[in-house]
Structures are given as structure tokens and as C-alpha cells.
């Protein structure tokens, strides 16, 4: 399966990556190999087998609806952001 340049750009966009031209070229080859490797799984017959979503086989794990004090304060959390304004996270304009 050949990976087209536009496929890579699409994937990069979905992943929010910016790629240089050389990276795009080399990724094409890499991805082709990766997909070939993973495709070995397709040889297995998975008819009538339930997909595995998690390996612990737990169910119905939930908590009480009670407010608990948090380990981190607002200031500590906001300190992790690049830029802050009026106790909010400042980001480049989006719309």
C-alpha cells in the first residue's frame, strides 16, 4: 500500500504536527513499512471474536458524587500554561 503525500499531510493535520518536506518524504516510506508489519494481523481469523477494549475485565467502576479537595490549586495549574490572563489560559485567536 502506497502512502500518498496528501495522506501524510492529512494525518499530520489530525495530529496537529507540522512536518518539513524531508520529514514528509521519509515518513512515507516508514509508514508503508509500519502498515505492512501491522497488516500481518489481518491473516488471523477474528470472526465471532469479541473485540478487546481493555484487559482487566473490570465493569461498573464508579465513584460517589462527592466534591473532594484537589491536590493542585488554580494558580498551580495556571502556572503550567504558556500564558495566562485574568485567571484564564490565553491562546492564539481561534474561531
Amino acid at each position: 500500500m502506497d502512502i500518498k503525500r496528501e495522506d501524510i499531510l492529512h494525518l499530520a493535520d489530525l495530529s496537529d504536527f507540522s512536518l518539513s518536506d524531508t520529514e514528509i518524504d521519509s515518513l512515507g516510506g516508514d509508514l508503508k513499512e509500519i502498515i505492512k508489519y501491522i497488516s500481518q494481523l489481518e491473516e488471523l481469523d477474528t470472526d465471532n471474536i469479541e473485540p478487546t477494549y481493555q484487559v482487566f475485565e473490570m465493569e461498573n467502576v464508579w465513584r460517589e458524587d462527592e466534591i473532594k479537595p484537589q491536590d493542585a490549586t488554580r494558580d498551580e495549574l495556571l502556572a503550567l500554561t504558556k500564558e495566562e490572563k485574568d485567571h484564564q489560559i490565553k491562546v492564539p485567536k481561534v474561531l
Binding site: 458524587d65 466534591i67 488554580r74 490565553k90 485567536k93
Partner: protein, 470 residues
């Protein structure tokens, strides 16, 4: 050509749980400082794990039952990936493959049924505020529990769309799962509208108007879209499938910058949350807690209360529940007091949370029906029941204190009438009445009322006057 509109609606309802869907912080961020209700989980710090709020499951069962839906035993969560600053995780946790609420229907006041395709639990996104060259992010709303209710395309008019949204709102507040505060965005509607020539078995191309937050804007946006799409088709062009924004001020929808690429959310099972597997018994146990719903009240009171009054009451669960407690013979009387007196008061919103007891109200209605209170007196006593000084006192005590109990004692009334008739200034009126001038009776009744300091029952007074002047 006549076109038939087809409308499908997705509605997001914020659940009124104490804590968020996946973290143990305060879920009620109204009037709170930005980013003050945020945990490291909501902030999506590396290694943080979501923990499911059991109450949200219970609320989802109630919400589903309120919409006559099947509750699925098995449900689980998925990640819906997208990059936007309102979501620090880079994905929303939702239920894509196995939602908790299955098929059902909502019955409109008109009796028409709108089918529900499914409804699922998911976390809300943060709030963005846009400025000239930057945006600010408040994460208080991140992972507030939502249920997204997806209707079938069963709606064919803007009016029905309005009624459907309003009925959903009522179902959610009667079920007690949401505050239903539309102003604060507790319910938001995405509306898909298309039109097709009458008789066609194919639907037209649809447009989506997102994030409407009032029933009126849902109705207006659809009316606009139907007219706009009709114009497009009649000019021989095609409707473009797109998302359009609604502007409440201009009353128009406008095309929003469409993404060049089709959406690709790369849904995958959420590995951090084990599936939910409910037994029939546990679903039944929760479902039994569902209180009476609007349609139950319509069935119960439909013959007693005029439907326009009843529909107003159904916007206020507190009033409806109270009506359900009072003696049946006074239901009509008290409904009218609620809708025409209480709701006209400036402070009515405060009053709703502290209504008089069913006994106080029934006593009041009884006094009114026995004519011990005039309609004005009834209204006065009723409003005094909300006065902090008078609260808790029975109707009779308040009426006495206000001095508004009507004189119905015919003997006493007759005496007052005689006093008035003996006054020289009424002589001319008496003569006029005897000569057939019917309307002067009003003047005479007025004089008696004045003499009784407003306590006489006017209809009894008129009766006595007519006898005396016959």
C-alpha cells in the same frame, strides 16, 4: 412547488450532578471564578485518570425513562479526537458505539410523537471567549456531564421543533436531572433542516445550525432555513450541506467557514474507563424513582384545568407538584391563582421555592368559593402567604388580619343596605332605578360597599338591593 421540511435535533443537556463526570470537583460553576472548578484530571495532566461519576449513570437512566427510552444494559465510553483549546485532552470522552440510552419517544402537548434515536453520556468542553487577537480559555465547564439526545427526523415544522425542545426541557427538569437554566447554557440545541418536494421519498440536503440556546431561536432559525432553502431550490440551485451560524439580532443564518476536510474524529474505545453493565433490576430500581412527568399531569388534570393554564403550570415543576397536593375540588381555583397572580409578581422566581402548604392553599380556595373572600381579597391573602411576617399562618388568620373577610351575613348586610338607602344622597338613584335605569344599581352597590368598608359581598348586596327596590 410545495416543499416539506424535515428536521432532526440534537440536544445537549448538562446534568445537575454535584461533581463532574470524571473528576471530583464542583460541577456547578455558575457565578464562580474562571478555572476555579478544575482538577488535574480536567486539566489533562499526564497520568491523570478519569473516574466515572455513578450519579451521572443514575441521572441518565431517569432522563432516558422520561423520554420513554430503552435503557441499555451495556454501555461504554469512546474517545472522539479533535484539537481545539476548549479541550485540553485533545479528545472528548463520549459514548459513540454503545450509548446508555436507546430508542424511545417524546410526546408533544399536541399528542404528536417524536422518536428518539438514542442518547449518550459525554463530557462537556471548556468555554472560550474571543478577543481581537487572542482567545481566553475557562475550563470550569470541562467534563460537566452531558447527555446528548438525538431525535429521529420526525419533525416537519418550526412550531413542532419549538414544542419538542420545550417538552425535552420540561422532561429534564421534571425528572430532576438538570437545572434547565437555558440562560446559562444548561441545554443547547443543534438543528438539522432540509426540505424536499411534497411526495418525494428522498430527503433534501440538510444544513446544521449549532448551539441554539432558546426554544424561540430554534423556531426562528428553522423558519429562516426553510424560507432560505426554498428560495435556493426555486432559483434552480442546490442547497449546500454546511454548518450555519444563527444570529439572534439579525434573525438570519449565515454560512460558517466550512472545514475543507471531512470530519475525522478517529473514535476509539476509552481504555481508562471500564464498561458499564447494568442489571435489569438495577435499571428498574432507578427508573422507579422517576416522578410524575408532564404527560401524567396532562392526563390527570386535562379535564379540570384549561389547557393553556395547564401548559403554563407545566413550565414550573414546583407549581405543578403543589397543585397535585391540594384537594382536587380546589385545583382549578389555585391553578388560576398561580398563573394569574403568583407568576405576575416580580419576585415570583423566589416564591417558587417556598410555596404555601397545600392546606393553606386549600383553605384559601374554600374561603373564596364560600364567598368569604372576594377575588381581590383572595389575591391579597394569597400574596401575604409569601410575606416573611405572615408565612405559615392559615388563610383565615391572614384574612382576619387584613380585614378582608366579606360580610355574607344577610341580616347584617340588610342593616347596612337600609342605612345607605336612608341617606338623602341616594334618594335620586333609588328613584332612577325604580324608573328602569338599570345601571344605577352599580352606584348603590358601591355606596353599600363603602359603608361596609369593602367587606360586603357585592353580589349579595345587589340581591338585597334589588329586593328592597322592587
Amino acid at each position: 412547488m410545495k416543499y416539506i421540511p424535515t428536521i432532526g435535533i440534537e440536544c445537549h443537556v448538562q446534568l445537575a450532578t454535584k461533581t463532574k463526570l470524571f473528576s471530583e470537583v464542583d460541577n456547578d460553576a455558575r457565578n464562580k471564578e474562571p478555572n476555579s472548578c478544575v482538577s488535574p484530571v480536567d486539566y489533562a495532566l499526564p497520568g491523570m485518570l478519569p473516574r466515572l461519576n455513578g450519579e451521572a449513570i443514575k441521572f441518565a437512566i431517569l432522563a432516558g425513562k422520561a423520554m420513554n427510552c430503552k435503557i441499555n444494559n451495556y454501555s461504554r465510553f469512546d474517545r472522539k479526537h479533535y484539537f481545539y483549546p476548549d479541550s485540553p485532552k485533545g479528545y472528548q470522552i463520549t459514548q459513540f458505539y454503545h450509548p446508555i440510552i436507546g430508542e424511545g419517544y417524546v410526546e408533544l402537548p399536541s399528542g404528536r410523537r417524536i422518536r428518539i434515536e438514542h442518547a449518550h453520556l459525554e463530557g462537556d468542553a471548556g468555554k472560550l471567549t474571543h478577543f481581537d487577537n487572542y482567545s481566553l480559555v475557562d475550563l470550569n465547564r470541562v467534563d460537566t456531564p452531558l447527555i446528548e439526545i438525538v431525535s429521529m427526523p420526525d419533525i416537519h415544522s418550526a412550531k413542532d421543533a419549538h414544542d419538542y425542545c420545550k417538552e425535552l426541557w420540561r422532561l429534564m427538569i421534571f425528572a430532576g436531572v438538570s437545572y434547565g437554566d437555558l440562560y446559562n447554557g444548561n441545554m443547547r440545541f443543534d438543528v438539522n433542516t432540509s426540505i424536499a418536494p411534497e411526495g418525494s421519498d428522498q430527503l433534501g440536503t440538510r444544513t446544521e445550525v449549532k448551539n441554539l440556546n432558546s426554544f424561540r431561536s430554534v423556531e426562528r432559525a428553522i423558519e429562516y432555513e426553510i424560507a432560505r432553502q426554498t428560495k435556493v431550490l426555486e432559483s434552480g440551485e442546490k442547497v449546500k450541506q454546511e454548518t450555519r451560524g444563527w444570529n439572534d439580532a439579525t434573525g438570519k443564518t449565515t454560512a460558517q467557514r466550512s472545514k475543507e476536510e471531512a470530519k475525522d474524529y478517529r473514535y476509539m474505545p476509552e481504555p481508562d474507563l471500564p464498561p458499564v453493565n447494568l442489571t435489569d433490576e438495577s435499571i428498574k430500581k432507578e427508573a422507579e424513582k422517576l416522578p410524575l412527568m408532564p404527560h401524567d399531569y396532562r392526563e390527570k388534570f386535562g379535564d379540570i384545568i384549561a389547557s393553556d393554564i395547564l401548559e403554563i403550570l407545566l413550565d414550573y415543576p414546583e407549581l405543578t407538584k403543589k397543585i397535585n397536593e391540594v384537594e382536587q375540588k380546589y385545583v382549578k381555583n389555585i391553578s388560576n391563582l398561580f398563573t394569574s397572580v403568583l407568576l405576575a409578581e416580580e419576585k415570583s422566581a423566589e416564591y417558587l421555592n417556598d410555596l404555601p402548604s397545600a392546606k393553606q392553599l386549600s383553605d384559601l380556595a374554600e374561603m373564596n368559593e364560600k364567598k368569604e373572600l372576594s377575588s381581590t381579597g383572595t389575591k391579597e391573602v394569597f400574596l401575604k402567604m409569601f410575606d416573611p411576617q405572615m408565612k405559615g399562618r392559615d388563610a383565615k388568620t391572614i384574612a382576619k388580619e387584613l380585614g378582608v373577610i366579606q360580610e355574607n351575613d344577610l341580616g347584617a348586610l340588610e342593616q347596612i343596605v337600609d342605612t345607605v338607602l336612608a341617606k338623602p344622597e341616594t334618594k335620586k338613584a333609588q328613584e332612577d332605578f325604580r324608573n328602569g335605569e338599570e345601571k344605577v344599581i352599580g352606584f348603590l352597590v358601591g355606596q353599600v360597599m363603602k359603608e361596609s368598608h369593602g367587606k360586603a359581598n357585592p353580589s349579595a348586596v345587589q340581591q338585597i338591593l334589588r329586593q328592597k327596590l322592587a
